[in-house]
């Protein structure tokens, strides 16, 4: 295998690709890296203990989720993912975690979120997701559940991370 690579490299070197286009190639590579840094800056940000992780019970089949779907699930507009029923569990509404989650996902304050649920109850009888102070324990014990926690509180194996906010 390494011999093959070596011969390919030699071949490329032999055709003069490296010599002639090296500067252009490196330029493109640099441009690509800068582009990734600029547009996907978040993905290479250092992990912070205060990151909010979207976590699911280990029985949930999906391995990633979009922010739009997180919003829909926690607003109870969507109740399944990839054909699997999904049950949202919120942190207590007076917790910092819940406030930050509500702001990041819905762009709303806690009072605005509460107002939204009061309206939904009257309009369509829709009730907000259940709440528990320890969302990790809730996820560990509830099949098909989805919730969120701080990275610093997460313990490997207890739940599956599907998105970092």
């Amino acid at each position: 295998m390494s011999a093959m690579n070596h011969s390919r490299f030699k071949d490329i070197a032999g055709t003069g690709f490296v010599g002639k286009n090296r500067r252009r190639f490196l330029g493109m590579l640099g441009f690509l890296i800068v582009g990734i840094v600029l547009f996907q800056g978040k993905s290479i940000q250092a992990e912070s203990p205060d990151d909010i992780l979207i976590i699911v019970h280990t029985s949930v089949k999906i391995s990633s989720i979009s922010l739009a779907d997180v919003r829909r699930i926690f607003l109870k507009q969507k109740a399944s993912l990839a054909g699997q029923t999904i049950i949202p569990i919120n942190a207590r509404k007076d917790s910092a975690l819940r406030r930050q989650f509500t702001q990041k996902v819905f762009g709303k304050s806690s009072a605005e979120e509460q107002s939204y649920w009061e309206q939904q109850k009257i309009k369509s009888g829709l009730r907000p997701p259940n709440e528990l102070s320890d969302t990790i324990r809730a996820i560990f014990s509830s099949k098909n559940a989805i919730s969120y926690c701080y990275r610093k509180d997460y313990a490997a194996g207890v739940a599956k991370i599907i998105l970092v906010l």
């Binding site: 507009q77 605005e112 528990l132 014990s141 313990a155």
Partner: protein
């Protein structure tokens, strides 16, 4: 060296003395057991040929050495096994400790029974509701120095200033399984007490005389309590009572009494949610049935991260005098709702439509009995001498199209609806019509309701002031709007327009305070009088 010599001598002596006995024993044992193998008693058999004779000292020494070596090897093996056992014991203890720690961790991370019950998503039952109190004042045009209340525009509840309360709405919600739930919404209302079910129409002819039809009927539910004063009985109105089975986001089957799926104002439904106090003409004129009894299939389909599509198909009894529980014709009403919602950051738009077609039927039943000539028995000439005979008193087909549009952008709300309805009579309702006067004909006591097309529309613009944070989550939203009604294309005299403006304040998620003014502008002022102003204030609370 000396020790070896002594040991060898001792072993030789032992063999001389013990040898024959051992050989005898070996004989006995060796018969059933093959040489060199272990017997059932655990003794090792020795090949007879290998048993050294007492005189064969060399082979005895060799044998002794072999046995000593074997003994040492066995001792070493035993020591190794003992050491292994010690190591295994330690490992076992370590594993046991780990298991104990894991059990404790599992216990810590698992939910308590109370917590698990709090999270339980099935069999959750909840009761909640809302209510409101409103104050309305009308400011009619002055006539001869005093307000003129005679305009037909004033229905009784709008005359003068009055406090009023529609009722108290209570919800009963039960989530039976993760896909099955029920919702019952009731309104405890003061009605039917005070309801005016009929009023007289009196035509005064300039030529002398009057034409009068109808009578004043005000319902009274006043009853005397056995040991104290009177009380007025109210009613319980079941606004909706539905069973929902929702196996998928795109498939929800709803059965029972459900709200008709149209518009914005109607879906907002309750006073704590609605922006203004004024109810649009689309709603107050019952263009579409408020609720229907039957089956509705609805769902939501997501298209990417920014768009979704709602649909609903309704099949119901349609409208009738008691459509909640009986359809007086076999023609079921059919409806189709479609709505698209698009959200792009702070901007969102949704556009929807609902088409409905159904048949209204009212009838009268009488039991007819056919007797013989002497009234002493049934008429033998009639095949069925007792019969229910049904007479249809009113029947019409209706087709209605309702559309709605809502745009939100950074606190700005724009929304509006348009409804157009067509009524085609099959058995027209008899009415006392004064309307022929508009076309130069006489009032008609026995007139019939004509086929007609009606339409109405409204639009509202509102802006939530950007001081919510500064005001500690108090939302203040001023609004302006217009409303227009054309009840009939046959007689256009009762078309009206309305302009409104006001403010909506939400000091908490549970409380909504609204106040506003609106002006009704009749199209034909000779019939409905001049422009009239109203002022409304309302406080609505959800609980």
């Amino acid at each position: 060296m000396m020790q070896q010599v002594i040991l060898t001598g001792f072993v030789l002596m032992s063999l001389v003395v013990v040898g024959p006995v051992s050989a005898q024993n070996t004989e006995l044992v060796s018969q059933p057991t093959p040489p060199g193998e272990t017997s059932a008693s655990g003794q090792t058999t020795i090949d007879e040929k290998s048993v050294p004779t007492p005189l064969d000292s060399q082979s005895v020494a060799a044998r002794l050495e072999a046995l000593t070596a074997a003994l040492r090897a066995q001792k070493n093996e035993t020591d190794a096994l003992k050491q292994k056992a010690v190591v295994q014991d330690r490992e076992l203890e370590k594993l046991s400790n780990e298991l104990s720690v894991m059990s404790e961790e599992h216990e810590q991370i698992s939910l308590s029974q109370l917590e698990a019950e709090a999270l339980d998503t099935v069999k959750r039952f909840s009761v909640y509701g809302f209510m409101d109190v409103q104050f309305t004042a009308a400011f009619p045009q002055q006539k001869n120095g005093s307000p003129d209340w005679s305009s037909p525009i004033f229905i009784e509840t709008q005359r003068r200033s009055t406090f009023h309360q529609a009722g108290v709405n209570l919800y009963f919600k039960s989530e039976l399984t993760s896909t099955l739930e029920t919702l019952v919404e009731t309104q405890f209302t003061y009605q039917p007490n005070g309801d005016i079910s009929s009023y007289p129409k009196v035509v005064h002819s300039n030529g002398g005389g009057t034409i009068e039809a109808g009578e004043w009927v005000r319902t009274s539910t006043s009853v005397r309590k056995p040991y104290s004063g009177d009380l007025r009985l109210g009613g319980v109105w079941i606004e909706r009572a539905q069973i929902d089975w929702k196996p998928r986001d795109w498939l929800n089957i709803r059965m029972g009494r459900f709200l008709s799926p149209f518009g914005i104002w109607h879906e907002d439904h309750g006073s704590p949610v609605r922006l203004t106090t004024h109810e649009p003409f689309i709603i107050s004129n019952n263009y579409l049935p408020n609720a229907q009894t039957g089956i509705m299939v609805l769902g939501k389909i997501f298209a990417g991260n920014n768009a979704d599509f709602d649909y609903a198909v309704t099949l119901s009894n349609g409208r009738g005098p008691a459509d909640e529980y009986v359809d007086l014709d076999s023609n079921k009403a059919l409806g189709l709702r479609a709505r698209v919602n698009i959200t792009l950051r702070d901007f969102s738009v949704s556009a929807g439509a609902y088409g409905y077609m159904g048949q209204y039927t009212d009838n009268r039943n009488a039991l007819h009995v056919y007797t013989n000539a002497t009234n002493s028995g049934f008429d033998p000439t009639v095949e069925q001498p007792t019969q229910w005979i049904e007479t249809v008193t009113s029947k019409y087909d209706e087709k209605i199209l309702a559309t709605d549009l809502q745009i939100n952008f950074k606190g700005i709300q724009l929304f509006g609806e348009y409804v157009r309805g067509q009524k085609k009579y099959i058995v027209p309702t008899e009415i006392f019509a004064v309307t022929p006067l508009f076309v130069g004909a006489s009032p008609d006591v026995d007139a019939i309701e004509p086929n007609q097309i009606s339409q109405a529309w409204y639009g509202v613009a509102a802006y939530q002031l950007p001081f919510t944070k500064a005001l500690k989550d108090i939302k203040i939203t001023p609004f302006v709007g217009f409303d227009h009604l054309e009840p009939s294309d046959v007689y256009s005299y009762d078309s009206v327009s309305l302009f409104l403006g006001g403010i909506n304040v939400k000091p908490s998620p549970y409380v909504t305070i609204k106040t506003g003014a609106y002006c009704i502008i009749p199209k034909d002022k000779t019939v409905l009088g001049d422009n009239t102003w109203f002022w409304d204030s309302q406080i609505a609370v959800s609980f």
